[in-house]
Symmetry: C4
Subunit: 257 residues, 4 copies
């Protein structure tokens, strides 16, 4: 492999698929929301994304095996006639340099384009620096028409300001160049911790937009799993960055040691 | 997209176009001068430049939509017979590594070459570390002949020393390799703040060089707009670089969060 | 050369070769183990690997000559009928960025694939932060089947946690994508010093797995040589990174000096 | 341009040319020695090397023009029958990352190979951290045979230890892969200042090796010029790296300013 590659299932055919992005980000809002959807909808894994821009390390699993860091895409076929199928993007990490983010996002959009997708919703958190009792879902869209369309479902536009960093922004920006449309849906969140409540708000609004039903009963137990995994990930990636205590496990990263 | 791309209007035809560069730089002198020209001349946008070397983030606009960071080129058709048309380059940012700057500048020169352009003026500030009552316009040119030519219009040569960092220098250096010619026109400026007065000096000298008339009445109100926008940009790009408070809005940039 | 290149002996033919990796890593466990094997088995050098991602410096040798930093692959032909031949990877350094590690590992796997190899054992240390009297060999494998297979030889699975950074992990992760299998064999070690005892444990277990005999008599004197060499390497690479005293010998690395 | 390019004079034909390298390095020993040779021998410039890995800035000259940062190659035709012609490499800067150094050195070697060159002498200083009354010339060679050959001219082998960082080492290491041979000739020097005396020692030994006569009368006045230029260069490049006072002149380097 060179650059970033998608290893995908052959023969997958989808009807007007919509791309949902839920990579790790602020409050893990997008990740929690998307992973819940994948499990509730019993979506099927159709692609794995590996990149030379991801950390050069593998995770050791409890069962004695190891695996590379990656992103994954799951597909769900909408049983409703005329309904949109879904492609859901989740993963261990996001790339961290501009060049790497542009490359990974473009590779994902290549795959989505091949699947004839046109609409993208990226899911994330919008940090406000304080606890939010009843988090709203803020939006920022590629086109004015999408703003009008999504307002009907309770998405609040024109209030989020600043910028969207990473795949949640770039998939939309690069998608627009390819004549796709969509929006970033951001649950209000503190920003300093993992926020299940904010993620649920996003799922609720998204379910309305997609016109699907999503049971939220198992949401909180799944949050616990994700939280544990991400804490471990954070620790492992820290090792690669600079050594220190943690770096004593497994091989270290300087030229020599 | 891969690398840096120009998305340009088809069918644009220009007569001996001159390239003016006004990307963000010291005192925003070049940016203020070029943006004023674009508006006064009612120039038309003919190209957008996107690069994987620009920050991996999108800006959220007040109207609820978002847009990528980019550079833009505007064209103005000179109504005078035999007069030079203009291509004016402005944008949100400059690339920051040597490799990125070389790539972006070369892509811009490719476009300019296709338009059969030969002459380049890059506009900027020359920081002197103190307030300047009556800012002169200092110059540094690709060829001795250009020095002689521009001296007639009041440009001061041989006084600016040191180096010109970024597109203002590289467009001229790389342009010279392509047998283009030109000069960097630098308004004297403090260097520590946005300097409308210095930018006006540059516009005045440039108008003489180009033999065009430019009304300066609306200059100051435009400065205010630019100042507000750039302060916001600065804050947003800071987020991408290192997290902190600002990074709480939108998605953050480490591998995990 | 561009990127990473393998300069290899022509006409080398191997029977079902197994790749052993022993690049510098925690406690130098993998390096000590692999270098001992190479010498005891009188393996022959069949390939040298150079990379633009290795430090841009050459080593001056006592005899008055100099040499580039590199990795090396040695081949051993198993005299037993049906036994596996070996390819053993050692070297001065590992690459340090994700992109560089992915490239170098892929180039090595390209070579291994051409040799029709399928099985990889990467050797390393597993730092536990304290002195270990009787170091066990922990494992992490590409597939469940490999776990079962290697448990029979005393490799302990399911206990090492965290991640494996560098070639020891990436060769297995990237190898798996190419339908290869294998495991990382890690001797328990303190992590803060070069650990011959841990390396011997790894050699013993590996000898059982490979069904070969390896004399350990000369192990300790070889450790001394390696220790001296690596201390020197560490000092030299330090120079390239940041100047200081050491940087006074030979040419320095900033643009100017 | 993309990467690193050589813009060379057409039709240059040389007899068994030897490459001398004198880019900026410790004590500027190599640069002083090579520039003196170029002037004394009245060598002709035959190539300019530009690289996207060099700083993205142009130098403003006193006469009002500007120029890019570059390396240059000068050719000298040996009037003696059977004598070797010379190609002499000097320049403003060296690249600073491993990838950049490998690329630039390979591009130079490509040019040298096209000229049918086989032998390389890189010139530099060997810092010893104290003032040296009578600096010797230490050597490190690509092959044992070169060691024997150069010892006759007073080059001391086997004493310099550590590594040679940058083009002085890499041209030899990469040259060896291309079946070229040569040596790094290092004048002993303090390491903390520009050392004309050390550079003269190198010129003297080199003149013997090349069997040419080199007048040293004008050496010291040339040192002064070089010293002034390099101090200015150092200041300019500092600006590109991190802003601060110096960065106020010309355009600065962050995304915004």
């Amino acid at each position: 492999m060179k650059g970033t590659i998608v290893i995908s299932k052959k023969g997958v055919k989808l009807k007007n698929p919509i791309l949902l992005e839920g990579l790790p980000g602020i409050g893990l809002v997008g990740k929690l929301a998307t992973e819940h959807l994948i499990k509730e909808l019993k979506a099927e894994k159709v692609a794995e994304i590996y990149s030379e821009h991801f950390p050069h390390q593998v995770l050791m699993l409890k069962k004695g095996t190891l695996r590379m860091l990656k992103n994954r895409i799951y597909a769900w076929k909408n049983p409703k006639k005329g309904g949109n199928d879904l492609l859901m993007l989740v993963g261990d990490i996001q790339a961290i340099t501009p060049e790497a983010q542009y490359e990974v996002c473009n590779v994902i959009l290549d795959y989505f384009e091949k699947m004839k997708g046109k609409r993208i919703y990226t899911l994330g958190g919008y940090g406000v620096g304080k606890i939010v009792e009843d988090p709203r879902v803020l939006g920022s869209a590629t086109h004015k028409e999408v703003v009008e369309e999504l307002r009907k479902y309770g998405v609040v536009f024109g209030e989020a300001n600043g910028s969207i960093i990473g795949a949640a922004g770039l998939l939309l920006g690069l998608g627009k160049i390819r004549r796709m449309s969509g929006a970033c849906l951001m649950g209000e969140t503190h920003g300093g911790y993992i926020d299940a409540k904010s993620a649920k708000s996003v799922v609720k609004v998204l379910a309305k937009i997609l016109n699907i039903k999503v049971d939220l009963n198992k949401f909180d137990e799944r949050v616990k799993e994700t939280e544990n995994f991400m804490k471990r990930m954070e620790k492992e990636i820290e090792k690669q960055k600079g050594g220190g205590e943690g770096a004593m496990r497994g091989d270290d990263l300087s030229y020599i040691r």
